[in-house]
């Protein structure tokens, strides 16, 4: 089971990297979410995969009875999911606002390549390229 999960995580990260490196920023968002999910699975697997009961203490007892699931990786994943969700939302809004100014989200286009547009008069002189089909 662990080997299968490892393979799945590897595949997901490979796909995510491919998307991230494509240069189109919308694909970066998809790559980012995919990689976040892959890493959550990785943490889950790192906490050992066992068929077991939820880690709940039965009424009348003070300690856990029998084999129970590891709750910590799930808490970590929960935190990571929440943070990842916030980051994805921010990234989407940032890209929407960037598109308003640059009219392109292709990282190989001039607005992303020139490093000195600054806040000066140059900023309005960037020639806006045609959108790629």
């Amino acid at each position: 089971m662990e080997a299968l999960m490892a393979l799945l995580v590897g595949l997901m990260i490979a796909a995510a990297l491919y998307l991230m490196l494509s240069g189109l920023l919308v694909r970066f968002v998809f790559g980012f979410t995919l990689m976040g999910n892959a890493i959550n699975l990785l943490i889950f697997t790192a906490g050992r995969l066992t068929y077991s009961d939820p880690p709940l203490i039965n009424p009348g007892q003070t300690i856990l009875a029998g084999q129970t699931a590891n709750a910590l990786p799930q808490a970590l994943i929960l935190t990571a999911i929440v943070i990842g969700f916030a980051m994805t939302t921010f990234l989407l809004i940032l890209l929407a606002r960037t598109f308003d100014q640059t009219r392109t989200l292709d990282a190989d286009q001039p607005p992303f390549l020139c490093e000195l547009p600054d806040t000066g008069p140059l900023a309005s002189n960037i020639n806006i390229p045609e959108k790629k089909g």
Binding site: M20, L25, R48, T79, F112, L122
Partner: protein, 495 residues
């Protein structure tokens, strides 16, 4: 309890400032008071550390390896204190520099949150908690970057955001695998458990994963390209704070992890860090030489200076770590100061571009002093702080028989002088290009903006003149890092 205040206070101030952002005067005053209280709390923590070497706090009273704990030793306490100082300087400068639209967009709450997150990263004793603080730090810095929708700022922000998100993904991957390997995320606990792991290949690959993650954060070669692409588009006080603090949090995390968690076997991490350090130092300083925009020159110098710190870490001797700590403190003060000065240069001369400015020495004498001191401290002139910081690092190189590394460090220092002299002669000595010199109107600079610049310059001089006590504290910190007994005892005792 002292440990929680440097994190809690700015957070509380941030919430309070969220309500007062419509009134510029009130917001300014409240921010300065908040920053001063934070410095006071950090000072109390420093005093407690001088007294007790290392203290820890079990958050929510959950005992150490299970619960999250906050720990401070010399390194943490010094970093928290310097964060408070820079934050105050930047906030004072911002009083006259940040407009009411930016204050309404939430400039002050974001700055306070950023300070809280940086202090949290310096104080946490838990690896996952470190990741969380890094995320808080990112979110706050994103907020400040996009504030105000200036044209041209968005593309730089995209570069910053994407690279830093990738870095946190790598960080959480490494943390997940460390948990799978050892079953703990408490750093003091990991110090013992990591040594027991037999699969050294896995440990080494985790170390590399973390070097990559923190290499992006602290702008190491070849992962630094986001930094010069984004720092020069920010408002001046923000860029000063980022330049001083953000990359250094990455350096701090590397120091902490490689002296505490991956302390056992350094046969692979040491040469890797050395090579990275040298390449970072050289590429940063060479790239800076070709730039003509002040803040881009300074940005590339951040990269080359981070190389010095990683070089100090990579030697793994108490003296080298002491040198790294002195370098960190010196660099944070000087670099933040230079970015503030660049803002004043822009105010006085109208541009950040060296080709369009000149003759500032004639018109702004005090500003010249404010630039001269940090610039030549950065370049390593005695008796300023930079000289001693470089001396300690180079001495540690020679002491551990890494002669080539010492030579490279000295050479990079020399090339730093070149860039600083370039700014000096172009902005201050050269007559104003294309203009009749008699037409130059002297623009007076606000005292609110001059005060932090001169204050930080004074600190630079004082560190340089009183090197002996500073060095003594740094050496204790270096010993403490190489042999983290006190740190681990504090974590286990929860006191």
């Amino acid at each position: 309890m002292l440990l929680i205040f440097p994190i809690l206070l700015p957070m509380m101030v941030a919430i309070a400032m969220g309500f007062s952002r419509l009134n510029k005067q009130k917001a300014n005053t409240a921010a300065i008071i908040g920053a001063l209280v934070h410095v006071f709390a950090s000072g109390l923590l420093m005093v407690a550390i001088l007294d007790r070497q290392a203290i820890a706090l079990w958050v929510g009273s959950w005992p150490a390896p299970a619960g999250i704990c906050l720990v401070a030793d010399y390194l943490s306490a010094v970093m928290v204190l310097i964060t408070g100082v820079i934050h105050t300087a930047v906030i004072v400068y911002a009083r006259k520099d940040i407009g009411s639209s930016q204050i309404q967009a939430g400039f002050y709450p974001f700055m306070q949150l950023l300070t809280a997150a940086i202090c949290g990263a310096f104080l946490t004793g838990d690896l996952f908690n470190l990741y969380v603080w890094f995320e808080v730090m990112l979110m706050a810095s994103f907020g400040i970057m996009v504030m105000g929708h200036f044209p041209g700022r968005m593309t730089g922000t995209v570069k910053y955001v994407t690279m830093n998100l990738l870095s946190t993904l790598l960080l959480i991957t490494a943390i997940g695998l460390i948990y799978g390997l050892t079953g703990t995320l408490n750093m003091a606990d990991l110090h013992e458990k990591m040594a027991l792991v037999e699969n050294t290949a896995l440990v080494n690959s985790l170390a590399l994963l973390l070097i990559t993650a923190f290499g992006i954060k602290s702008a190491l070669f070849p992962l630094f390209f986001w930094l010069p692409a984004s720092y020069h588009i920010l408002p001046v006080p923000v860029s000063a704070f980022f330049a001083g603090m953000l990359t250094k949090v990455g350096v701090y995390a590397m120091i902490r992890l490689f002296t505490l968690v991956f302390a056992g076997d350094t046969s692979m991490t040491q040469p890797t860090l050395m090579v990275l350090a040298v390449l970072t130092m050289v590429s940063g300083v060479v790239a800076a030489a070709s730039q003509m925009e002040i803040r881009r020159i300074l940005s590339f110098h951040i990269i080359s200076q981070v190389g010095y710190m990683v070089l100090g870490l990579s030697l793994f001797t108490p003296l080298a770590l002491a040198g790294t700590l002195v370098y960190l403190v010196h660099h944070i003060i000087v670099k933040a100061n230079l970015f503030l000065v660049s803002g004043l240069i822009q105010k006085a001369a109208g541009s950040f571009d060296l080709k369009h400015i000149g003759s500032l020495y004639k018109t702004h004498g005090l500003l010249s002093a404010g630039f001269f001191i940090p610039a030549f401290s950065l370049a390593g002139f005695p008796p300023l702080s930079g000289f001693w910081a470089k001396l300690l690092i180079i001495y540690a190189c020679l002491e551990s028989r890494h002669y080539i590394l010492g030579a490279v460090a000295a050479l990079v220092g020399l090339m730093t002088v070149f860039s600083m002299i370039k700014i000096w002669s172009e902005a201050f000595w050269k007559p104003l290009p294309g203009n009749d010199a008699t037409l130059v109107a002297v623009k007076p600079l606000s005292a609110w903006m001059m005060a932090p610049v001169l204050g930080l310059a004074l600190i630079t001089i004082l560190i340089g003149l009183f090197m002996e006590p500073v060095c003594r504290v740094a050496l204790v910190a270096g010993e403490q890092l190489m042999n983290p007994v006190q740190y681990i005892l504090a974590v286990k005792g929860g006191g």
